[in-house]
Each structure stands twice: as C-alpha cells, then as structure tokens.
Homo-oligomer: 375 residues x 2
Amino acid sequence: MISLAGGIPAPDLIDTEGLEAATCHAIKSAPDNIYQYGLTEGERFLREEIASHMVAQGICVEPDHILVTTGSQQALDIVARTFLDEGDSVLVEEPTYLAALQVFDMAGANTIAFQVDQHGIDFTRLESLAAKRRIKLMYLVPNFSNPTGRTLPLAERMDLVEFAIRHDILIVEDDPYGDLRYDGDHVASLFKIAEQSFNSKHRVIYISSFSKTLAPGLRLGWCIPPESYFHPLCRAKQSMDLHSSTLSQYIAGYYLKSGRLDNRLKLLKKAYKSRRDALIKAIAEHLPGTLELNVPEGGMFLWGRFSNGLDASLVLKQALSHNVMFVPGKYFYSGTPDLSSIRLSFSTITPSLADEAVKRLAIAIQKTEQLQAQE
Amino acid sequence: MISLAGGIPAPDLIDTEGLEAATCHAIKSAPDNIYQYGLTEGERFLREEIASHMVAQGICVEPDHILVTTGSQQALDIVARTFLDEGDSVLVEEPTYLAALQVFDMAGANTIAFQVDQHGIDFTRLESLAAKRRIKLMYLVPNFSNPTGRTLPLAERMDLVEFAIRHDILIVEDDPYGDLRYDGDHVASLFKIAEQSFNSKHRVIYISSFSKTLAPGLRLGWCIPPESYFHPLCRAKQSMDLHSSTLSQYIAGYYLKSGRLDNRLKLLKKAYKSRRDALIKAIAEHLPGTLELNVPEGGMFLWGRFSNGLDASLVLKQALSHNVMFVPGKYFYSGTPDLSSIRLSFSTITPSLADEAVKRLAIAIQKTEQLQAQE
C-alpha cells in the first residue's frame, strides 16, 4: 500500500541519531529530573531554546511567556477550553484542519466557515458574518495549511488582523509547518503583524509544534499567548495533564541546544521539496487535465480537485483496491464539502515512489469513471 | 527546607537504572516507532503489560479495553469532558484530591461533598443528597486517599456500589496508590465489586497511573472504562492530545516487560512503610497530644488535625520560617474546610530526617500558639 493519506513526517527523515544522542545526554545529565514531576508551564531551559528558535519566525518572546504543551493539539484544546463557552462562534477557513474542528466541536462552539479560494479571502463575506453575530475566535493555519497547502499573503494577513481588531476577535495562529518552506519568501506571522503593525499585543495566540520538524512521538508543542492570558491557559493545562512529559522536554531541549535542528531543517526542506516536485511531475504525466492542483510553497500537502467533478470517496474505494490511498477533501469541511476535492500528502512519498503512486491513482480514477459510465 | 508538602514519589527510590535500561532498549529495538505518531488508545504492547499488571488488583481486562492517558490527571479530565455537562452534579468525598475538584470545576459541574469520618460514610446523608437531585458521577480514591490516607473498607465499597446502581450514578475510581499497601489486606476494587457482586459492567471507570510507582515524568496513566464507553473516551482523548508520548509508552512497556516492577514495588513498600512509621514515631515523641493522626495502610500521606483547633495556615507561616513545609488541609475541601487539618507527605522524608522535620514543626506550632496567646 502506498499512502498519500498520512500527515506524518517521513520516518526516514527523522533524526534518530540526534534524538538518541539527546536522550542519552538527558539520562546522563539529569537522571534525577527527567523521570520526576515538572512545572506545568514547561522546563525553563526548553522554553529558552524555543524562544531562540522563534527568532527565525521573527517572533521575539520571553521564555516566561511560552507554554509548553502536549503537542500543538493540546495547545488548541487549552485555548478552546479557556476562551470558548457553549454556543460561542468561531471562524475557520474552509476547508481546515480536521482536529481543530473536533476541538471546537467538543467545546460546544459553532464553527462558521469562510471560503478561501484562488482569489483569496472574501472579506465582504467575513464582514457580513461578523455583523450578524459576536465572533469570539478565529482559527487559521496561515503557512502551508492543512489540507490546502495554501499560504496567506502578507496583504491578507494585514487585513485579517485589522478585521480581528475591529471586531474584537481573538486570532489563533496554528503554525506547525512554518519551518518547512521550500520556495518563496517568509511571510510575517499574524502574531508579529498584530504587535508591530497594529501595536496590539492581545490579539493573537501563536501555536506551533515539534511534531513536523523533530519527532511527533515526543508529543511536544507550544503556545505563545498574549501575556495576560498566560496564567489562565497554564491553569487549564494543569487540570488537563499537570504537565507534558519531562523526559520528552529534556530530549527536545538538549536536541535544540545541540544545534542540530538547523541542519535537519535544511535536509528536511530539500527532501520534501523534491518529493513535492516529483509528485507534481508524476501527476502532470499520468493525470494530465484530471486534477487541478494547489502547489504549496511548503508543508506536506498537495490539494486537488477532479476537474470533471468525480466524487473523491468513490475514487478512494477503487484506490484502496489498487493499493494506494489518500484523504477525500470532504473531511476537512465544516460546511458543505467539495466532494471532488482530495488531499495528497507527499511527505512519505520518495521521488522513486511518486510515479508508481500516481499510476495506481490513475487506474483508480479510470475505474471510477468506467463504473460511473455504466450506471 | 524539609518538605512534607509534596505528593511526589521519592527521587531516591525511582528506578533510574531500570528506566535507563528500558529507554536504551526502546532506542535500540524500535527506533522507527518511538519518535513517530502512535494510536490514540495507546501502544498495544503497553496495554498488554498493563492488563497483566492489573491482575494484581484483581481486575481482569482485555488490553483492548485499556485507554492509555497522559497521566491519570488526563484520564480524569477525559471522563469529566465526556460525561459531564454544565451544571451536572458530582459527588466527592470531603476532603478529596484537589486536582479532581479543578477538573470538575473546569467541566462546569457542581461538586457535592459527602463527609467520610472515623465512623465511615454517612449513607443517610448520601441518600438525601441523591433524593434531591440527579447525580451523574461519583469520584472516589478508595485506597490510601489523597489527602486523608483513608481506605474504604469492603462493606462500605459494597454499599457504595449498590447506592450508585440504585441511583444510576457512574463511579470514577481513582487508584494511583493501590500498589503501595504497607499493612493489612487488599480490598477489592469498586470496579471488581460492581462486576462480580452486582453483575454490573457499566458502573465503574477505573483509573490508575505509573506516576507513583514508576516515574511521573513519563506522564502515563490509564483508564479502564466499561466497554461501551471506550470509544467516546478515546475520541475525546484524540481531540485533547492525539495520543500520549510514544517514547514514554515504549519505556514503560519495556520496563514492565523486564519484570523489574515487582521488585521495585517491594522496595518502595518497605521504604515508604519505614518512612511512614518514622514520621509517626517522631510525631508521637515531639508532638504528644497535639496532632490527631490518621494512620494510612499505604500511599504517601498522613492526615492530621490540631487537637486544640489551631489554624494550619498560621502554623504553615511559622513553619516556612523554620524551614519546614506541609499543606494545610483546607485546600482539599470543596465545601467548608476544617482549618486545623493538615496533610503530611512522608514519601520523601527518610527516617533520619523525620525527627528534624517534626522538631521544626513543633517549634512552628509553639510559636503559633504564643502569637495567638498574645493577641
């Protein structure tokens, strides 16, 4: 089975050697700490390392204002539980990250979707949504979004922050892929735009993760909230799991301290870029005109739609029997889904595998079309 | 500073050697798995090991019905979020585990306390509470409770289960200390009583943890819900942190597989028993007649109250300036607290330290009495 479905980092690109070294260093240097209870907000030295790491994203933050979380998933959940009450309204891009929708759903919130298409965000629609009801929170993955791979351009980011300020909406900026840019230039984070362009320090909660760059199995993410929100979020986390794995924090901390991450990111970006390009090339070759593609500047996902409107779920059925899988795009919608959309993850598809993956996909599509013609 | 305040396992009793061996084994045997995403319900082989381990508690359970959690704190939170709606009523012992009260509070539930004194549970009061309102959930730490150290006798457990069945109340049995019994005989869990004596398989959710026996820094606990509740709980966990640290799970799994836990438990029980006894002896010597004590058959806590009604918070103030600390009991109450109650943790107080700890405590008490007399 060739899987274009997962959102996992490539196993062959995880720096097991570096992680092993960091683990051994932790065992040797801090045997009395790594197995013991720790602080809810996270180990100080890891927070210092994260603060240094954030500089690459143009975010200057004191270690004391960083909350270490059990993956960025928990950061999202902490934010939802702290800020959302039953029935509150949350704005989300359509389509968006599935597990974020689950979090908002569990918090009892109403998610209201706004479309982002090739022309960008429809701000007229956004304004009319905000005019109708109080919106408390807006959730965005501005860099190489899951599932669409899209990156919000600077002008749209500026407009979004201005919109959020005007309507008193808290922005949750989820940025797990920010370090994985393969083309184009870095775009300032919403967090930074709010602070620097609008002098607003209480507008954006920035969330990120080590899951895509270091190792998801450590379950470590972090959250940079406006200062005044730090303690409420920390209290919520305490009730949720006391703190994140001490051992994981030491491993991540020592790994960052070792300086290996920079080189690893270079390696990851080079490898993922070539995997993305190989998959795009194979699609152009074996599926000419069949799949309209978004080409992302980073991250892990190609987003496509069948130009003849084929139902992606039917294609998946055929695909599975031809040993290839992907995720139909419909799962990422909170409103009416585009049934012919699909998400293709290229992170685990080496260039030598891309051809075979797309050939199988092409057969599955052909079969689906044949079956439809027979009906 | 000598701390009788913490609820942490003794650092000198953590099996760092065994944990290190398990960690190295994990690195060597499963380098492709330990850093990668895992299943929400937990790694299969760890769940098998937990199932074997549960046999000591008289609980027979399929590995498939065990949900691995990020500490037992998360298990509690998962249960609260799955079963409790805003305004629901939860019965708790008075006093009880502080962080459980925080969880129920965060879920928007009303906690209703029932006293447990030397005569046991007042069932007349329980019945009148249940007659007045629908109670959804009842939370108990039946073995060596935090903070009181009390163990519910079998007869009371039977009555509680019968009561819960009659009023359709779900019991949450929190058992982090169950493996740490120093005196007396094992008492059947509420989980087992419900199943075996009442043929009721949908009444009790059993929760436990590796934090007191293995290492809190791994952040691993587990939850054994009735079968029909497994999937809703698993879905909630998925939204909360996707899954618990894969590396931690491999370490715990390999540690259990190594067979070292049995010996470690023997060692822990011997050491904690002698720490408990040394502290009791020192209290009898230096504080005769001052402190009424609960003597627990296991766990980590002595619970006491000042027989002359002294305010424990005032004593703590003096204690801190004499380099000894403890937790005033009032923090463990959801209703009106007993201000003269205190919790003394003996887990980190070696017998050679007990005398000095209690001497300092005696001075602090004397000082407090003097200050009160002057007022």
